[in-house]
């Protein structure tokens, strides 16, 4: 398990926010493979290996970082698909959004989001958030067994 590269699927339409997250993560978790997907529809295709990703053997992510406002298919809808698909339901989904609206937080937890993080303004805080998030989910937390890989 130690040798295995861990994968984070980052579903984010804002290039800059994606870059901030990547920089923050890379600093503390340099060996993590971050895959960026820019809209909800592609994210579902990636995860279900349909559409553009039908014949692509993508690594199953260890964590999904999910923005809520996404083009085409909304983040909450993506979350619903993940949590209602047996092969994906146990992957920790960390919502990472600039929304602090209660209705988003409530709805996300109702749909079994594992974590809800609000994007901080400060880059240092952003980095620390990514560091802690990675440490918690990738290191401390015992992930699902990899036998179905």
């Amino acid at each position: 398990m130690k040798a295995k590269t861990q994968t984070i699927l980052h579903i984010e339409d804002d290039q800059d926010h994606a870059r901030l997250a990547r920089r923050g993560l890379a600093k503390y978790h340099p060996n993590v493979d971050i895959r960026l997907i820019e809209d909800g529809e592609l994210a579902i295709d990636y995860l279900l290996q349909t559409g553009r990703f039908e014949k692509v053997d993508n690594p199953k992510p260890d964590i999904i970082l999910l923005n809520l406002r996404l083009p085409k298919i909304d983040g909450l809808e993506v979350l619903q698909v993940i949590k209602s698909t047996d092969s994906l339901a146990r992957i920790p989904v960390v919502v990472l959004t600039s929304s602090e609206a209660e209705r988003d937080i409530d709805r996300a937890y109702e749909l079994h989001a594992d974590s809800f993080l609000v994007k901080p303004f400060d880059f240092r805080k952003f980095s620390e958030m990514m560091r802690d998030m990675g440490t918690y989910w990738l290191t401390w937390n015992r992930g699902i067994s990899q036998t179905n890989d």
Binding site: R19, L20, D39, P71, A101, K119, F121, D122, F123, R124
Partner: protein, 420 residues
């Protein structure tokens, strides 16, 4: 004289204005005796010596009571009785008849005589009594009829009043129901607007925050990159920060425009949609100089009663959108025109660009909704167009057979606001 009255009853008739009695009697002595007796008692007496003369007087003078001899030469007394009964059923007729005519008396009573007196009249008191009770009965019948009529009138009046009140009440109820419906509609509209407003505030706060996160984040990055001497990175960080500021200022500007759409009202006037479309096309062409795009405008579009500057803004945005999403089309074409819909005129802006997937055709009008994150639009344009069309009482939608097959943005305006 009255004191000699043998009836022993109070005489109603004589307290009145004079009562007229017609006596029809061929026996002159008897007739004059009766007349004299009655005149003494202040009756006015008309005399007739035969049936036809009696009927004549009856018709002309309309007496209050009649004393009728059955046996007279010429016309039969019973026929006279019948004629009088037919013409004035409420005038009492008292038969004066000989003792030998009982059969005729019975027949006369059957035909409507009020009373009878046998001749010879031994006591005039009997005659007077019969006359007065008949008059009293007639008067009672008359009063009764009047009272009945009065009651009927009253019932009719009250019924009419009641119906009038009912009608008023019904109108009032209808008025209140209409007001209630109006109120419910208003509440519904306010609720819709509240939801829209909430959605607007939510979207705005989210989307305005987004570039701030970028800005602050890159400031942190910049600091690190400066410390680490990563010059290329520094350059990139600054570009991204500048872009974020530009994005935010653009957003703010467009939000301001959008907010004003709901507020500023230019008085509507008749505008030529063809002229507006041409003007909008010219403006957009200038913005995309170097892009070879053909824009064709239908020269025969109807005029519309509209806010000119807003309608121009809507058309500009639709054309701008078409240009922006033309894709890598080798012969880009945009067509602005109108067609007959079910029962209205449908205006459209058609392009042969990248098209829109069926499932996202509703989403494109949402504020800050962008189907493609890489385009430089802000996601306000179509929301703005939708708002303008709706403020004009119209509707907008998009038709597209799917990706790569072009899009047609269609809108209708209230038909009564169009002039061909």
């Amino acid at each position: 004289m009255q004191s000699k009255d043998n009836s022993g009853k109070k005489n109603l008739a004589r307290t009145d204005l004079s009562i007229t009695v017609l006596t029809i009697e061929d026996d002159r002595v008897l007739r004059e005796t009766v007349a004299a007796y009655l005149e003494d008692r202040l009756f006015k007496v008309l005399q007739a010596e035969n049936g036809s003369e009696g009927l004549d007087l009856f018709r002309k003078k309309q007496p209050d009571a009649v004393l009728l001899d059955l046996r007279m030469p010429g016309v039969d007394g019973l026929d006279i009785l019948e004629a009088m009964r037919k013409e004035s059923p409420n005038t009492p007729v008292i038969i004066v008849s000989g003792a030998g005519d009982t059969k005729d008396v019975v027949e006369s009573l059957r035909r409507g005589a009020w009373n009878y007196i046998l001749k010879p009249i031994l006591d005039m008191g009997y005659l007077l009594h019969a006359l007065e009770s008949a008059l009293e009965r007639a008067s009672l019948i008359k009063k009764n009829r009047e009272y009945q009529k009065y009651l009927e009138d009253m019932v009719r009046d009250r019924t009419f009043d009641l119906q009038t009140t009912n009608k008023k009440l019904r109108r009032e109820i209808e008025r209140r129901e209409a007001a209630q419906q109006e109120r419910e509609k208003l509440i519904e509209r306010l609720e819709t607007q509240n939801v829209e407003l909430e959605q607007f505030a939510y979207t705005v706060s989210h989307d305005l925050k987004s570039p701030l996160v970028t800005l602050k984040g890159y400031m942190g990055l910049l600091r690190e990159d400066l410390a680490g001497g990563a010059n290329e990175e520094v350059e990139y960080d600054i570009i991204r920060m500048t872009d974020a500021v530009d994005k935010m200022s653009k957003l703010l500007h467009e939000l301001l425009v959008l907010a004003q759409i709901g507020r500023v009202v230019n008085p509507p006037k008749i505008v030529s949609m063809t002229e507006l479309a041409n003007e909008a096309a010219e403006i957009i062409k200038e913005q995309f100089i170097g892009k070879d795009i053909s824009i064709v405008t239908d020269p025969a579009m109807p005029n519309a009663f509209a806010d000119r500057s807003r309608m121009l803004e809507a058309l500009k945005n639709l054309i701008d959108n078409a240009v922006r999403y033309i894709g890598d089309q080798t012969s880009p074409q945009i067509e602005i025109g109108c067609r007959a819909g079910d029962n209205e005129t449908v205006f459209f802006v058609r392009d042969n660009g990248i098209g829109i997937d069926k499932q996202y055709q509703q989403k494109v009008f949402g504020l800050f909704e962008k189907l493609n994150p890489k385009t430089d639009g802000s996601g306000v344009g179509l929301a703005l167009v939708k708002r303008i069309i709706e403020v004009h009482g119209g509707q907008i939608w998009v038709e597209s057979d799917g990706l790569g097959r072009g899009s047609t943005f269609c809108f209708v305006l209230p038909e009564e606001n169009l002039r061909s």
